[in-house]
Symmetry: C2
Subunit: 366 residues, 2 copies
Amino acid sequence: MEEPRKRSRPGRAPAPAGRTSRPRQAEVARLAGVSQATVSLVLGARKQGVTISEETRQKVLDAVRDLGYVPDPAASRLAAARNNLLGVFSFTSTFPTDVQHSYYPFLVGVEQEAAARGYDLVLFTGSSTGGAGAAGPNALNRVRLADGCLFLGRHAPAGELLRLVADGFPVVHLGRRDELEGLAWVGADYISASQEVVAHLAALGHRRIVLVREDDEAPASTDREHGFLKGLEEAGLPGGPATVFRSADPERDLTAERLRGWLDEGVTAFVAEETDTGDAWRALHGAAHFVGIDCPRDASLALLGSPPPDLADGPVPTGFDVPRPQLGAAAVRMLAALVAGEEATEPLVACAFRPGSTAGPAPVHP
Amino acid sequence: MEEPRKRSRPGRAPAPAGRTSRPRQAEVARLAGVSQATVSLVLGARKQGVTISEETRQKVLDAVRDLGYVPDPAASRLAAARNNLLGVFSFTSTFPTDVQHSYYPFLVGVEQEAAARGYDLVLFTGSSTGGAGAAGPNALNRVRLADGCLFLGRHAPAGELLRLVADGFPVVHLGRRDELEGLAWVGADYISASQEVVAHLAALGHRRIVLVREDDEAPASTDREHGFLKGLEEAGLPGGPATVFRSADPERDLTAERLRGWLDEGVTAFVAEETDTGDAWRALHGAAHFVGIDCPRDASLALLGSPPPDLADGPVPTGFDVPRPQLGAAAVRMLAALVAGEEATEPLVACAFRPGSTAGPAPVHP
DNA sequence: GCGCATTACTAATACGCATTAGTGATCCGG
DNA sequence: CCGGATCACTAATGCGTATTAGTAATGCGC
């Protein structure tokens, strides 16, 4: 048989030359005259029952100082079975050249909340997927190296997302996505916010209000319409499809004639939804200006969201702000909950009403 | 006595409830009908002698795909391997509320270059906030989880940085930092760029040029002065301390009288350095405006950098642009080189000359 | 057809730390 | 003064991966 000599250790290559190896807990333990486990106990946040005498504690801490010991995060995280890493995946590049197109405002909240909870962030770039990551149908797999992952934008392929969810991997989508069964998400409460804007207009005396929206089926759009109609109903105002103007190209279809027609019919307030392009608001704003409306004297305007950058210099529109940093923070909270195996937290984040200066009392009609 | 049942395993807390754990190499191995070691061999970059049959290789790769296996970064690191993660650490929050103060332009380049090389980025958070991420003297230590780390801003504590370097951990500082022995950095070549601006002015016929700078010792400042003086010398113009106006508070000290004095002495061009606050340029710009100088007819102005945001709407200053995205990319290139055990790459990145509209031919003197 | 190479794997670690069962001591009540 | 409780620690193990020694199977030369 084999004689019991010590195996010439497999498992490790010699340490890279020239690299002064840092002290380990074992060295600290030797210097302090205790066991490695004791060192770990002293250094680790006190868990439960374990008690360490003050004397031992000091010996260990002294040794730690003398040797300049610092823990190896890889080992800690491996042993603790959690990496303290949250993924952030955006299908487009996280830092596009043009900051206007970035998720920056969300990331502000994401970073803050993650930091507050002791998580670091891993940024995955789905767009490139060059180098190591396979671009194939499994491009999303790489996110599994984190404890959970946040998805930004509506371009993440549904199939892969659901696969992750089905595997029990914690996933949170920033932006409503409830067509995907089981996918956790956080989103802004456009319904309540839109309703509130209508209530504001109604309180100012407006009886006939029209919503201008683009022609898509995104939840963000239908929610706003929903809230708009709910607001009308609450205020006891006439609702129905006639109060909603829907167009695939508002800048072309929202003509001066149409606007004058509405005014003649007694409409005194107009509400536009916010979209990627900002076209609805731009069209409304443009037509009102063209017709020569003195806003808010002749009529009131409101915007269900924030104005596009090119109109940022104009008067502040009455409406609401999407609290992007708070959305980011809420997403991290939910993700952290899922990672911890808890229930998902509240998905809806309230929008802040913005008084603005484009809405005023309804003009007294002759 | 106890019957020989399996020890109720110490060493591990039960996995968080309800969480199906990610697949490991062991699961892949079982599915493929091979050993864990084989999986590791197939996935790892082919080392030496080991050979794997194409058939086995495929079985393993199929199993990897089916299970969505991704290596655990902590385990990889612990086993002395790479994990394709580059750290990004900024002492201040990476995404401050005000995008103006962010490292965004650098990150554009960092992300691109990292993606191109197959690295993902880990954003180490909690630098500013006192979150769970520990503020202690070892706040920087967690970056060791990554293969290397990029540091932004000049607030990273020197001691800890040097400790990382001394331990052989790949570190690159974005921004010159050569007072720290052994620290690799990348920075903009302010010397050449400043020299070029002076050359441009000299070519326009200016014979007397004054530099306005703030009163600090940052390399970015001294480099600009150095390049300025070098430019004068090259052009055969009078140099010396008289051509440099140095003030801790330029807006107060750079008075209209002083400016008139210079003009009377025959100075026809003024150069300001760029600083965090932009005060030098603001003072110069303000005084020139106050004195009623028609720029560039009466005198030329130049800015060694970019104007502060509040002056972004004014005329484009002649000077140079700091190529922030390229700096980010260069930093990643250097970091990747260090991780691969190669020599550091070129640390200096050239700035782009910006013609602008504030410099013109020197006025003909009576 | 026997030794020696080569091929294609697997077994057995080691990495550094966290956790928990176990083990002497010491204390305490009755 | 004995059994149990408490205290203060240590031993043993596992986390998931990389590496290397070992091995069975096959090929090959002479």
